[in-house]
Symmetry: C2
Subunit: 227 residues, 2 copies
């Protein structure tokens, strides 16, 4: 048996369930005993990350740190957090326990650069964009992030809320595809789905460049680190 | 905010993910903050329940009790266990902490009898059948359990292990449907999916009698008890 993974979850609850399903699906397993042990805190009451980054709400940092400590007490040996935007508060999570923390944005950046691309298009929510998570992560690796301009970002957020409400229909998919193509037209050689809702409306085969699913990058790293 | 629910999970891991998805889907919610807080221990390494009930393996009772205590330490205020067969060891879970425990089999029996039926067909794994969980639960309520005969039970277990390995395809679904129809032919007025894998291959609309999803019964009770 490998190491037990603590999952700081609930941002949103559906993304956490989706992440757990991806860990299962990506594990080569033929019996229950082959699966990674996950201890998951699915807590919908974490203060709104986007609002906090805009400076308009309570910081989620104390709640995220408390969740990390609770998972450690429950037996977690390493931690993950399946939400891109919440990584603006990764420092609070890292500081809360001595456990290793697998950083979703770093893992997605690594995967995006694995093909040799240096111009990386990123579809990310307002808070993730405003906090500069992918911009810094890519710059630290010698690459450059290409993000939506303000008009396209507004369109992106509107699509995101439609997906969160259960609509990943033709119009939403066409809208998401247009935003992705806009980033490719402006030089992106690889795209990152830097928000857990994007892969519900955009598939790797829809584009002429590779599409990195940040949640899948975390799921693969989780399986590898759990051992 | 309601009470935090501790989930003794991983039996199997897919059933736990499915249970979480059902709690989400059955919660009337418009924002992350409306959802029940779940702390989930998805532990695939719990000793095989069916083998233990046959007297051929280690008892899972100490591991289940330790998981219950870990969830209590992590902040759980009530406990659930989304696996029918594991309820042969419910006593060990109840004895491990002072927390309330929602009993899946009792809840499914209550739901099966709500329509007035007294002959209840139950699709359940070997251990659940051998431990007499539904037979006793239904008899205590003045009803009678109809279970698969030995040949059909062997077929049922073979289907179950295919679902656990990720195969809920056409052949598995057809096999499960044939077993359900066999119970109806022998007098069952209502059917209980008394194993968490069954609803992955059999849906209420597939049958001429009501199909009680034991996991949904637990999900509804979980949402109500969390408040």
């Amino acid at each position: 048996m490998g190491r037990t993974v603590g999952v700081i979850g609930g941002m949103g609850p559906a993304a956490t369930v989706h992440f757990m399903g991806r860990v299962l699906a990506l594990t080569p397993a033929s019996a229950d005993q082959d699966h990674v042990r996950l201890i998951v805190d699915s807590n919908g009451a974490v203060p709104d990350r986007n609002a906090a980054i805009r400076g308009e709400g309570a910081s989620p940092a104390p709640v995220l740190a408390a969740m990390a400590r609770g998972l450690e007490r429950a037996g977690a040996e390493l931690l993950v957090m399946p939400c891109n935007t919440a990584h603006a508060f990764a420092g609070a999570v890292r500081g809360a326990t001595p456990l290793p923390f697998l950083h979703l944005v770093d893992l997605a950046c690594d995967e995006a650069l694995a093909s040799g691309a240096t111009q990386i298009g990123v579809l990310a929510a307002d808070g993730c964009r405003q906090a500069g998570l992918y911009q810094r992560g890519l710059a630290a690796r010698g690459a450059q992030a290409r993000l939506c301009d303000d008009d396209d970002q507004r369109r992106f957020m509107a699509l995101l809320y439609r997906i969160k409400a259960g609509d990943a229909g033709e119009a939403v998919r066409a809208g998401m595809l247009a935003l992705a193509r806009g980033l490719i037209d402006r030089g992106a050689e690889t795209l990152v789905a830097g928000c857990t809702e994007v892969p519900l409306a955009l598939k790797p085969g829809d584009l002429v460049v590779p599409l990195i699913d940040s949640l899948d990058a975390l799921a693969r790293a989780t399986i590898a680190a759990a051992g």
